[in-house]
């Protein structure tokens, strides 16, 4: 057997290399701009938390976090509920059009959002959904539903048919079967998808940037630009801002890592 240390050395070097951009950002976010200005970035010292305080105030992160919350929470709840409904019908009943319907959902998820921009933008303007959270929530939901429907309906297909039959014998209608039998059984998939969707919708940049022209309503991902000056950029401040924006996703990731990974892979492996 070949020695394992070659493998470990390779992986360790790669892993550290992979972390460098993040660690570099973290390191400099904790340093004073004047200090790095005079001593250069290859120095050690000038540690401060001030960048975080400044970034928080200048980019109005408190407000922007709330904006992200107002968009992400309803969008995730709506996406998962609607996908669970659609997935349930597709998994539980066999109609002729099942596969076509699934295709309609999944393909919608794969289309490039930019290609829909013009009609969506115009329609939203007519309906006064432009510059509103509602519009953004609706479009995020429509886009994410395809993936979730695919994952959930595949998951629901693994529920044995006998369970439904005995529920029917007990006189449970379709909606009771859905709420008391199906939903509890697909909890692992729902947990995985929640983690994933929270991350994705929180990270969503394109629709937020184009549909909310009012900077006050921007979610946090779209408002980092506020920290970039027109003529000069304080990179330490920008790093602190980046870390603040990344923090919720990092938290979700470290706490719910297992769910996150299984969510990402559910859609691609189980088919």
């Amino acid at each position: 057997m070949k020695p394992r240390y070659v493998l470990h050395a390779f992986l360790a070097v790669m892993a550290v290399g992979w972390l460098v951009p993040l660690l570099w950002g973290l390191f400099n976010s904790l340093r004073d701009y004047d200090y790095t200005g005079t001593h250069g970035y290859f120095s050690f010292g000038g540690f401060t938390f001030q960048n975080y305080v400044d970034a928080w105030q200048r980019a109005e992160f408190g407000e922007k976090f709330l904006n992200s919350l107002y968009i992400t929470v309803p969008a995730v709840v709506l996406t998962l509920f609607l996908s669970a409904c659609a997935g349930f019908v597709l998994a539980r009943f066999s109609f002729k059009l099942n596969l076509t319907l699934l295709g309609v959902f999944v393909a919608a998820n794969l289309l490039p959002p930019q290609a829909l921009l013009i009609p969506v933008y115009r329609a939203f303007r007519e309906l006064e959904l432009l510059n509103s959270y509602t519009g953004l929530i609706l479009i995020n939901t429509a886009f994410q539903m395809g993936f979730c429907t695919l994952v959930l309906s595949n998951y629901m297909k693994t529920i044995p048919h006998e369970l439904y039959e005995s529920a029917e014998v007990d006189g449970a209608g379709v909606s009771r079967q859905f709420f008391t039998l199906t939903l509890p059984l697909v909890r692992p998939a729902l947990a995985a998808l929640t983690t994933l969707q929270v991350t994705w919708i929180y990270n969503e940049f394109f629709w937020a940037t184009v549909l909310l022209q009012d900077g006050d309503k921007f979610p946090i991902t779209s408002s980092l630009n506020n920290l970039r000056g027109e003529f000069f950029t304080d990179y330490n401040l920008l790093s602190a801002g980046s870390i603040i924006v990344a923090l919720p996703t990092l938290l979700v990731f470290f706490v719910l890592q297992r769910q996150f990974v299984s969510g990402l892979t559910l859609g691609s492996t189980k088919g």
């Binding site: 790669m14 349930f88 066999s94 999944v106 289309l111």
Partner: protein, 293 residues
């Protein structure tokens, strides 16, 4: 079919609503806009006034795009470089890392975490984080190399700078997908190959890789989708200009801001839709395989 016969009228309504409401969402917000983009691409419309003010001009927009719209061909070229790059470096690298990490080695989890940490960050944020490396005066890269290059600004290099940042994220994603796929490969297959005296690389290429066919398909599609959709990071860097023209950014440029050229932008959007329809079909076949028995 047999369940359907038993449905009571109330259940029928419930089932219709459960599938109908999500369907309305997707049709109204995704499919209808997609078809409208195609229709509008044959028009000239400044966006003022009602729908009656639309001029229908046939294929003029397409002709103009191909002949007198300077950023178009560079954008197509950049998107092709994008997909080529992702296929040549981050995708095989992600697969390679997955193969290494699939073995029982100590600290495997730790390595995995490092590689897929970037996956959870938004591409917009990725653009910002890499700015600290690419900045001309204060960036890490110039400090290490002793150069004076504006990596994000110089049109000769900025595409590559952005691609490296994108690849940083893409590699981890691909690794994750292959790791999941490799777990599902029957260990007996590999054992048999080993007994037959096949080397590790040979076992992988002639036994494991073919078994991973469905995963390969998904990875293929994901990589193409990501390349065609490339938008966030170039928009963060310079709104898709000066060396970073990509097709998604061109669509956005034609609709946002003062010059809203709806017909023209729609023609660009339709070109995107046409390209994407190819991989949508491939993806649908891969994900719904075996269900149409």
């Amino acid at each position: 079919m047999r369940s359907r016969r038993r449905l009571t009228p109330l259940d029928r309504i419930v089932v219709t609503l459960m599938i109908g409401v999500p369907l309305v969402f997707v049709v109204l917000l995704v499919w209808l806009p997609a078809l409208s983009s195609v229709a509008l691409s044959f028009s000239r419309w400044e966006g003022f006034g009602g729908l009656s003010s639309i001029d229908w001009i046939g294929f003029d927009n397409y002709q103009n795009i191909a002949t007198i719209y300077p950023p178009f061909w560079p954008a197509i070229w950049h998107n092709l470089i994008w997909v080529g790059f992702l296929f040549l470096i981050p995708t095989p690298l992600g697969m390679f890392l997955a193969v290494l990490l699939d073995k029982e080695i100590r600290g495997s989890r730790l390595y995995q975490t490092a590689f897929y940490l970037p996956v959870i960050l938004s591409l917009a944020l990725t653009g910002f984080i890499w700015q600290l490396i690419y900045s001309r005066d204060q960036g890490l890269l110039n400090a290490v190399l002793g150069t004076q290059i504006d990596w994000y600004g110089d049109p000769n290099v900025n595409l590559w700078a952005v691609l490296v940042a994108t690849g940083w994220k893409h590699t981890g994603y691909i690794m994750l997908i292959y790791l999941a796929g490799l777990k599902a490969v029957d260990p007996g297959l590999r054992e048999a190959a080993r007994v037959d005296g096949a080397s590790e690389p040979r076992t992988f290429f002639s036994i494991v890789f073919p078994v991973l066919r469905p995963i390969n398909l998904i990875v293929l599609v994901i990589t193409i989708i990501e390349s065609l959709r490339a938008f966030d990071i170039v928009w963060i860097v310079n709104k898709g200009r000066n060396g970073l023209e990509v097709i998604a950014a061109l669509v956005a440029q034609n609709i946002i801001g003062e010059a809203s050229r709806i017909g023209f932008g729609s023609a660009l959007a339709t070109i995107m839709l046409l390209i994407s329809s190819v991989y949508v079909v491939v993806h649908l076949r891969a994900t719904t395989r075996g269900e149409d028995r």
